[in-house]
Amino acid sequence: MSWYTLSPVEIQAFTLSLWVATVSVVFSLPIATGVAFLLARRRFWGHGLLNALVHLPLVLPPVVTGYLLLVAFGRRGIFGPVLEVLGLQLAFTSAGAALAAAVMAFPLIVRAIRLALEAVDPKLEEAANTLGASPLRVFGFVTLPLILPGVLAGAVVGFAKALGEFGATITFVSNIPGETQTIASAIYALLQVPGQEAAVGRMIGLSVLLSVGALLLSEILARRMVRK
């Protein structure tokens, strides 16, 4: 096995990371957009609270976040019974890994979308309103297309974060090869023992490759959006 050949376990980690990052971003985007909209456009009781809550995963040590996830979504967690009824298991599953990654990426995605929302010229929304577009349609046809570069930026940062995340992931879903071992947790495991520098380097190369790819893709997309 030469240095650049990936072992099956590494390939599994690679595929899983890609899956986890993609799923977590895809599922967070709509929710993040909604939350960003609330935070940017509405004044309501609990605004500050929601804002703080969204930022929490950024502030807390990832392990704490993972622990809180366990408390909430573990088998014996607060929502454990509900999840059980739904036949959904999160702890120690890849779905749980995606959840953990999504929670960790969430504040970054919300911030990006919120900034984009705040930069949208309300005059354009007014114009759409006078043309008879309901708030929902204004959002769909005017606001959303205008914030797409911001959404994209959020998605990429979120994707990168989801790829790099392991603290909450490993705590919530542990590190089961083929099931919940992402590149990041594989790297972590490798780092625990001496003399694994080559393997670590290979894994890091992989994850950098993935996220640089996502970055470049997003830049190209963004440029295409803006060019018109």
Binding site: A127, A128, T130, L131, G132, S134, F141, V142, P145
Partner: protein, 355 residues
């Protein structure tokens, strides 16, 4: 359909207190910069919250109604095109959002406003006038129950205005929706206005039918002397077989017009500015001017400057002429005296001739 409103609102130091009743047709809102014209239109469209009062379209109070439910089409002072979609998609969007469906025909609007070469462009690649035309088209396509046009043509050149104005006239005549129209251009106002509302420092100081307001010497200080004049309505006759010139018959005689592409039998309105009329005490001869009327002075109104507004009656029509005090004295003009009024056929701006 009618728009009626009586609203009050305060924005920092600015206080708007406007009353207005706009039936089908064009109601021109005229007033100096900062007098509240835009604020008034925004209130109608629901973009500005009013402190008190009512706004009704067709007797239904719309105060408190969400802007998008009001079906008030709006052309803003700046174009406000959606920058992320092409011109064509801007238009299609408006049509799709228009809830009564129907509305104007996209192709017709595109041709009229000469938008065809622009359809695949984005707003960043449009000139000022082009963008304003697209904005106008967009508003027309949204099938509004009432149109608010805030200086829609002020970025357009004269020739283009002349091509677009007849369309607005047709729109006014066909759709029977009230159009609130802000403009600074007196000839645009004279051509389009059925009604005029004069704004001054947030208040609607004078309003009424265009004919009345434009010929009202009391309105002159608000309109400016150059905007004062007479609007006469009449009917196009078959062109003169000898001269080939168009003729309009009105309650007081016949008026020879410059080239006019209106068919015989069509009702038209013409504005004759007070300063475009020359008065004479004897019948002038050998003149290039083709329209010479014989009238009786009914009113004389002295302005602050060296001018006098002379109102005289020709048949049943009242005309307004502005001459110098010196001339009035020299000619011995007085109430009841007979005068000859000279009007040049080529002085009529075709843009000032409306239906």
């Amino acid at each position: 359909m009618t728009v009626e409103l009586n609203i009050q609102l305060q924005r920092d130091e600015f206080f708007l207190d406007a009353y207005l009743s706009a039936p089908a047709g064009v109601t021109v809102i005229f007033g100096p910069s900062g007098s509240g014209k835009t604020t008034l239109l925004r209130a109608v469209a629901g973009l500005e919250r009013v402190d008190s009062g009512y706004i009704s379209i067709d007797k239904a109070n719309i105060v408190g109604q969400a802007p998008y439910k009001r079906a008030v089409g709006y052309v803003f002072q700046e174009p406000r095109l959606f920058p992320h979609i092409t011109v064509l998609k801007n238009l299609k969007f408006a049509q799709k959002m228009g809830r009564m469906g129907g509305g104007q025909d996209v192709d017709e609007v595109i041709d009229l406003l000469e938008l065809r070469p622009l359809l695949s462009r984005y707003s960043a690649a449009l000139s000022g006038g082009e963008a304003q035309r697209v904005a106008l088209g967009r508003a027309l396509l949204s099938a509004p129950k009432c149109l608010c046009l805030d200086e829609p043509l002020s970025a357009l050149d004269h020739a283009l205005k002349q091509r677009i104005l007849p369309y607005l006239e047709r729109l006014r005549n066909q759709t029977k929706i009230p159009i609130l129209y802000v403009t600074h251009d007196a000839s645009e106002m004279a051509r389009l206005a059925d009604h005029i509302v004069l704004m001054q420092a947030g208040r609607s100081v004078l309003s009424g039918s265009a004919t009345k307001v434009l010929a009202d010497p009391a309105a002159v200080p608000f309109l400016g002397v150059r905007a004062a004049g007479t609007v006469i309505s009449g009917c196009i006759m078959p062109p003169d077989p000898i001269t080939g010139l168009a003729i309009m018959s009105f309650a007081g005689g016949q008026l020879i017009l410059p080239e006019l592409s209106q068919p015989a039998g069509r009702e038209v309105r013409i504005r004759i500015a007070a300063q475009d009329i020359i008065l004479a005490t004897e019948m002038p001869k050998g003149l290039s001017a083709l329209n010479i009327f014989h009238g009786v002075i009914t009113d004389m109104h002295q302005g602050q400057g060296p001018g006098v507004m002379v109102q005289f009656r020709v048949g049943q029509t009242l005309f307004l002429a502005r001459i110098t005090q010196y001339s009035a004295g020299k000619m011995g003009l007085a109430l009841g005296k007979t005068v000859f009024a000279i009007v040049k056929a080529s002085a009529f701006d075709p843009a000032g001739i409306g239906t």
